[in-house]
């Protein structure tokens, strides 16, 4: 699903990623662990090009995202991302937060289809072989209604439907993060990236967020999760990457990585965190 080939990233003279080659398969749940400063987050942020890779390729759906000519916005629609600091839009209500991107993108696609149809309708006057009109599946009003219905369904799933018209500032950290997760889900992504989703939460709210991530994982979503929650990584992931100094030092099933570590640095790391 995502193929990373010799990914390198440097901030100025500071080399953060030093050549990562790895394939993330469909349906896989990958946990990325490692000490802070090891490049975990940078690796994750390179996957949807929030950080532009210095060199290397990221192949997603047959396109190399590291290539500047590729329209990254089209690919990002299929890559959901959840941030450490939630990053809900402060100027929008919960419902608007969830609906904004799907509605905007559906509308801009609708405009594009209409423009193409107008052009073809005109050009068909001069063509021997007529070009068929593209189908319009939903009008503007319908797009909005559908997006809102979908958002409410997702809100109901996390039991926050009564917060639909609240602003993010009135919510707890756990509520914000759960809404951030369904905001990403509302785009129907093919893969979801989690950047330390529970690190900014109060301890008593970690559980509710992890439960939601687990539930999404059980639906068969492909996921890459950067986390410090070793128990969670062990329980949910199919595969664990241990990163240090910008490379993946060791990877394998949770059992292999946690119970039978080979690399000395991984052993040291585990002895410190567990």
């Amino acid at each position: 699903m995502i193929e990373v080939i010799d990914l390198k990233k440097a901030f100025g003279s500071n080399n953060v990623l030093n050549g990562i080659t790895e394939t993330i398969n469909e349906g896989e749940i990958v946990a990325v662990i490692g000490p802070s400063g090891s490049g975990k987050s940078t690796f994750l942020r390179c996957l949807n090009c929030l950080e532009d890779p210095t060199s290397g390729s990221i192949i997603f759906e047959g396109k190399d995202l590291a290539d500047m000519k590729v329209d990254i916005n089209l690919s990002r629609r299929h890559i959901g991302m959840v941030f450490q600091q939630f990053n809900l839009f402060n100027n929008k209500t919960v419902l608007q937060n969830i609906c904004m991107a799907p509605v905007y993108i559906a509308n801009s696609d609708l405009r594009k289809v209409k423009r193409t149809n107008r052009k073809n309708k005109f050009l068909n006057l001069f063509r021997k072989k007529k070009v068929e009109m593209l189908e319009i599946t939903a009008e503007k009003k319908q797009i909005k209604l559908e997006a809102e219905a979908n958002a409410m369904r997702l809100l109901k799933r996390i039991g926050l439907e009564d917060k639909a018209n609240a602003y993010p500032s009135t919510l707890s950290g756990g509520q914000k993060q759960r809404i951030a997760i369904i905001r990403a889900l509302a785009m129907n992504p093919k893969v979801m990236l989690f950047d330390e989703p529970t690190s900014a939460l109060d301890p008593e709210m970690v559980g509710e967020v992890l439960d939601l991530i687990k539930a999404v994982a059980e639906d068969g979503m492909t996921m890459v999760i950067v986390t410090h929650e070793m128990g969670f990584a062990r329980e949910v992931a199919n595969r664990v990457f241990f990163m240090d100094e910008g490379i993946i030092l060791e990877q394998g099933t949770p059992d292999e990585v946690f119970n039978h570590p080979i690399n000395q640095r991984l052993k040291d790391f585990l002895s410190k965190v567990i």
């Binding site: 916005n73 991302m81 839009f89 402060n90 100027n91 905007y104 602003y167 500032s169 990403a184 785009m187």
Partner: protein, 233 residues
């Protein structure tokens, strides 16, 4: 004092100078409000051009043009800008537009230069995570700025923007340089033609005071309404 009031009353009511005053008040408000709107638009555009991230391969020319623009409008007095606009540029370009329009455009461009800096600091005060979250959902840079960053940035700078508006209202009193009859000019005409200055000039100051008071109250109300969004629990 009674005589002076009589003179003023004569001029203001009997000779219908109040009509000029009302027209002048309207001109002042028109220039300041439309100027502010133009200024906000120009200021936002400049701020956005100056903030284009490095990965957007925007020509440096745009940024340089903005620098020259801001440099000129901040580096020269508004009066000289009005004079150049009205007496130099308009004839040179062969345009025939009335002096109020010229004043609106010049004040708009002038405040645009100041607002661009205000706007930039406003946008910089918005958490970068907000832009990242919008981009990660597949929205383009400009859409994300327009829908997420700029609304929050404007909210942050509302008090400063209010000050700019107040300054603008008062600065418009120089438009008589290009023969616009604004509030100031209207009262000056009363004073000059009746040789009675105390009353018209005191009222003039009072009118400005009232306008500024109304604006600052309005901004406070707006701020309070927008602050509701931020209030926790």
């Amino acid at each position: 004092m009674g005589v002076k009031w009589q003179v003023f009353y004569d001029k203001f009511i009997t000779k219908e100078a109040w009509r000029t005053v009302v027209d002048g008040l309207w001109a002042t408000i028109e220039i300041a409000v439309l100027g502010l709107i133009i200024g906000i638009i120009i200021g936002t555009v400049i701020a956005m051009i100056k903030m284009i991230p490095k990965y957007k391969t925007a020509p440096k020319v745009f940024s340089a043009i903005c620098d020259v623009y801001v440099g000129f409008f901040r580096g020269t007095p508004i009066i000289s800008q009005l004079l150049i606009g009205y007496y130099v540029l308009m004839p040179a370009l062969g345009l025939n537009i009335n002096n109020v329009t010229v004043a609106i455009i010049v004040f708009g461009m002038n405040s645009g230069a100041y607002i661009s800096e205000i706007m930039r600091s406003g946008m910089q005060s918005v958490d970068p995570g907000q832009l990242e979250a919008a981009r990660a959902l597949g929205l383009g840079y400009w859409v994300s700025m327009l829908k997420v960053v700029i609304p929050q940035g404007i909210k942050n700078i509302l008090p400063t923007l209010g000050n700019e508006f107040i300054a603008l209202i008062k600065e418009t009193s120089v438009v008589s340089m290009i023969a616009v009859v604004d509030l100031t000019k209207a009262f000056r005409q009363i004073g000059d033609s009746s040789y009675e200055y105390i009353i018209p000039y005191t009222i003039l100051a009072a009118v400005y005071l009232v306008i500024v008071f109304i604006i600052s109250r309005g901004i406070k109300l707006l701020e309070r309404r927008l602050a509701k969004v931020d209030r926790s629990h």
